[in-house]
């Protein structure tokens, strides 16, 4: 290769510096591994910073009845029982310790009257369970981890994009990428790599996700030969902003509903009553009066009766479908959403508990949420699917390749409960960091042939020589395709059409032309992001086609019911030659003592 590139060598390389990446790096470093953290943006700007509502953990600070068993059960039921039981178990058991640890590292959570960490209710959680800081919990988490990591001496390489994983035979040998600032190439050699790259939402046009969420880790793992599962399950958060156009899709935290927000359609109907699944009705208020009673108890800091929870606290998959249908059937708000109202609550309560929402709507939409209702609608938010990992260590099927957080699959099954993401990042970030450090400790330095590096470099530079179109045009068409064909409700015809369209988009993406130099060039970056997004989009569409039933976030109009046979399998995606292969694998068998938790409940 004509161009010289810099090389770094580490024991553990963590790719992505959100909650999972930071927690993994802290753990790997604490266990003695020479650790580097690589991120596409500046440190502290990762998507975790936008998580608002809280961290789910059965601390039982406000509802003493809570326990890991209940959290486990809520998580499994919320996930349509497709979650890997072991991940859900570890998550429920370890989340409280991870939250307390964060507090000891300096996080300042909102407090109970007796000075402990306050917890708020959230959809699908039986008890009030979310440790939080107003509605900026993610910022608190990122900043605490950032300070911890920086002072622990982890090498942080900011604004560096990893485009290829490098291998030594079957095992991971490192990663190739480039510095955004200079456009120059860099190679990281490592004994173990942790993918903590987050999600895939930028393949849809209405999304709460930032520019970084282009499915890099999903695509890198796939190309490296790892198996991905549950890719058909994409969470559309029920409440994104719908107006003005520039902020369409931006998240409106579930904490709004947890703090009393009521959903109404254009006719003023509180429609969520109509959409509660029959088998879950007993867990919600039967009337406005009961819901009001629950809220009054919650606001006053008393322990409310969980069977009087407002219907707005149904799980996200359900609330999103409800809003979508209300709008489709002509009962939507002026800008194509529904109304979310907290204006009947005391203004000081709203401003204290939902400060960012208050400012977001005031500054960006000219709406004072203490006086008038918000307009909201579903927005692409979270990928439940991801790299299949060993629950205890986070290692994928590729030796030395680990995954944690949103890029990993299995923890959330068919639908993630709100608040379970931040706890997931901490629990499995920590475990993957430990797993990677252990793997590195028993590995020798991998060897790496220059051929892989040279091929990666050639591929990266190709867009400068191409004569095709602008990458932004291809991205817009990709987003429209996924939004229209692979959204909340799916059909075989739509999914087939999407797969066909993706083929055309893939060909166009391979020919995109990039203007300008290699210095901090967003167009060049997008040219490569496109390939990741298209790969991931195809995984989602193919997996969605394979699952001929409706479960969790995956709703098939042509197969509207849950099917018991599909409930026993994960859909998995593997690489086969240059293409992808979709298959099914049996769910791991849950041990009897955990199964008993579900029988008790009945």
């Amino acid at each position: 290769m004509s161009e010289r590139y810099e090389t770094h060598a580490y024991d553990v390389l963590v790719i992505g510096a959100g909650g999972a990446g930071l927690r993994a790096a802290i753990e790997a470093s604490a266990r003695g591994a020479r650790t580097a953290l690589v991120c596409k943006s500046l440190l502290g700007k990762a998507h975790t910073v936008m998580a608002e509502g809280g961290i789910a953990a059965a601390l039982a600070n406000v509802d003493s009845q809570d326990s890991w068993q209940t959290h486990f059960r809520d998580t499994m039921r919320g996930g349509g029982m497709l979650n890997h039981w072991r991940m859900a178990q570890l998550h429920a058991q370890e989340a409280p310790d991870r939250v307390r640890e964060l507090e000891r590292w300096g996080a300042v959570f909102d407090r109970t009257k007796d000075g402990r960490i306050l917890q708020r209710p959230f959809g699908g959680h039986t008890w009030r369970r979310l440790a939080h800081v107003g509605d900026r919990t993610g910022l608190e988490m990122i900043r605490t981890l950032q300070d911890r990591g920086v002072h622990q001496g982890i090498d942080v390489h900011m604004e560096c994009t990893v485009t290829h994983l490098l291998k030594d035979g079957d095992r991971i040998a490192g990663a190739f990428g480039y510095w955004r600032e200079s456009g120059r190439f860099v190679v990281f050699r490592c004994k173990a790599a942790v993918l903590a790259t987050g999600g895939i939402g930028k393949a849809w046009s209405v999304t709460s996700n930032s520019w970084e969420y282009t499915g890099d880790g999903h695509a890198l793992a796939h190309r490296a030969g790892a198996e991905l599962i549950d890719m058909e399950f994409v969470q559309f958060h029920p409440t994104g902003m719908v107006w003005p156009p520039g902020v369409r899709g931006i998240l409106v935290t579930e904490a709004v509903r947890a703090e009393g927000g009521i959903l109404r359609n254009a006719k003023g109907e509180r429609f969520m009553w109509r959409y509660l699944p029959e088998e879950k009705r007993a867990e919600f208020a039967k009337s406005e009066a009961e819901a009001k009673e629950w809220l009054a108890d919650h606001v006053a800091g008393r322990s409310p009766d969980f069977k009087k929870r407002p219907p707005e606290l149904s799980t996200r998959d359900n609330v999103s479908r409800a809003i979508y249908l209300e709008v489709k059937e002509g009962r939507g708000s002026p800008h194509g959403g529904v109304f979310l109202d907290v204006s009947y609550l005391p203004a000081e309560h709203v401003v204290k508990k939902l400060p960012s929402m208050y400012h977001q709507f005031r500054d960006l939409a000219d709406v004072d949420i203490t006086k008038e209702a918000m307009e909201v609608g579903p927005t692409c938010h979270y990928a439940m699917g991801g790299v299949r990992v060993d629950p205890d260590t986070g290692e994928s099927g590729v030796p030395g390749l680990f995954a944690a957080g949103e890029v990993a699959g299995g923890m959330h099954g068919a639908n993630r409960l709100g608040g379970n993401s931040l706890s997931d990042l901490l629990v499995f970030g920590c475990r993957a960091g430990a797993g990677a450090a252990a793997r590195a400790a028993k590995s020798t330095a991998p060897s790496m042939d220059d051929g892989q590096v040279e091929a990666a470099a050639r591929e990266l530079l190709r867009p400068f020589e191409n004569e095709g179109e602008d990458p932004y045009a291809v991205h817009r068409d990709l987003q429209e395709t996924m939004q229209a064909r692979v959204g909340i409700f799916r059909t075989e015809a739509d999914l087939e059409a999407a797969i066909g369209a993706l083929e055309g988009l893939r060909a166009r993406a391979a020919r995109v032309k990039v203007a300008g130099s290699r210095l901090f060039n967003p167009g060049w970056h997008l040219a490569f992001d496109l390939r990741n997004m298209i790969d991931v989009s195809e995984m989602v569409a193919r997996a969605a086609l394979e699952r001929r039933e409706s479960r969790g976030a995956h709703s098939r109009l042509d197969h509207p019911k849950a099917d018991p046979a599909h409930g026993k399998v994960n859909v998995c995606v593997r690489r086969r030659g240059a293409g992808m292969e979709v298959g099914r694998t049996a769910l791991p068998e849950m041990p009897a003592e955990l199964k008993a938790l579900f029988e008790e409940k009945k």
């Binding site: 507090e103 402990r116 300070d147 900011m158 003005p244 998240l251 932004y472 060039n521 967003p522």
Partner: protein
């Protein structure tokens, strides 16, 4: 109801210099400056460099100078700007330009590393009330947009990055120092390495903070008082000499 077009005059260039370039952008309701920059990228200037992430004033990435005023571009509405003249968008002035609207802010991260971290008191009981939390939480709202660093005259006019860590880092130090269970004194650091004495409380930092943190009143002045107490109070000065802590 498209209200027509706006003329944007955006800095294009790198370390070696550059110039303002004109772009005509269609105006949509509720549009912000960052929307316009994205529109320009997507329609003919794909290599226009800009940092952004959340687009909702939570991440602090898209700091720039709009019509000469340091702002988050995601929060700057076009309907609050005079569109009868060009909207000028330049990178933050106090940091070296990397390219276009992107500046080299690495100095801030280096400064952050030097601040003595949160260190809980030995045997601390992990209980404290909301009123105590409130005090630290104000500083923990900081989204690290560095607009306060950008406007602080010690940095902007005098470029004393060598001896001064700037308002954003005082906010960070205050977040640790005013944590109800912190047990470390940062006064020596603030005085000797942080250069807190350079600040003459002109409050420029407070004015530009998009999170409305009262930087001067609630972070810098109390920290200055702690420094004064520790270093200029004769009894404490004597105690330090006797105890060998200074």
């Amino acid at each position: 109801m498209t209200a027509g077009e706006a003329l944007f005059r955006v800095f294009r260039g790198d370390r070696d210099g550059g110039a303002l370039t004109d772009y005509r952008v269609p105006v949509a309701p509720g549009m912000v400056v960052l929307d316009a920059v994205h529109w320009i990228q997507g329609h003919g200037a794909p290599d226009l460099a800009v940092r952004w992430n959340c687009k909702a004033a939570k991440c602090g990435s898209c700091s720039a100078e709009v019509n000469g005023k340091p702002r988050l571009m995601c929060k700057t509405r076009l309907d609050a700007l005079p569109l009868d003249r060009p909207v000028e968008v330049r990178p933050m002035k106090s940091f070296p330009v990397v390219k276009d609207l992107v500046t080299d802010v690495s100095w801030n991260f280096e400064a952050a590393k030097r601040i003595p971290p949160f260190t809980p008191r030995a045997g601390a009981e992990w209980r404290y009330g909301q009123a105590d939390a409130d005090r630290a939480q104000e500083f923990r709202k900081c989204i690290e947009c560095f607009l306060c660093q950008n406007v602080c005259h010690v940095i902007r006019e005098h470029d004393r990055k060598d001896a001064f860590i700037g308002p954003a880092m005082f906010v960070r130090a205050a977040a640790f120092d005013m944590h109800p269970l912190d047990g470390l004194s940062r006064t020596a650091f603030l005085r000797e390495k942080g250069g807190i004495g350079f600040c003459n409380i002109t409050k420029c930092c407070t004015e530009v903070c998009p999170e409305s943190i009262r930087i001067t009143d609630n972070a810098i002045i109390p920290l200055k008082e702690r420094v004064v107490d520790d270093f200029y109070d004769p009894l404490r000065w004597l105690w330090r000499k006797v105890a060998g802590k200074g």
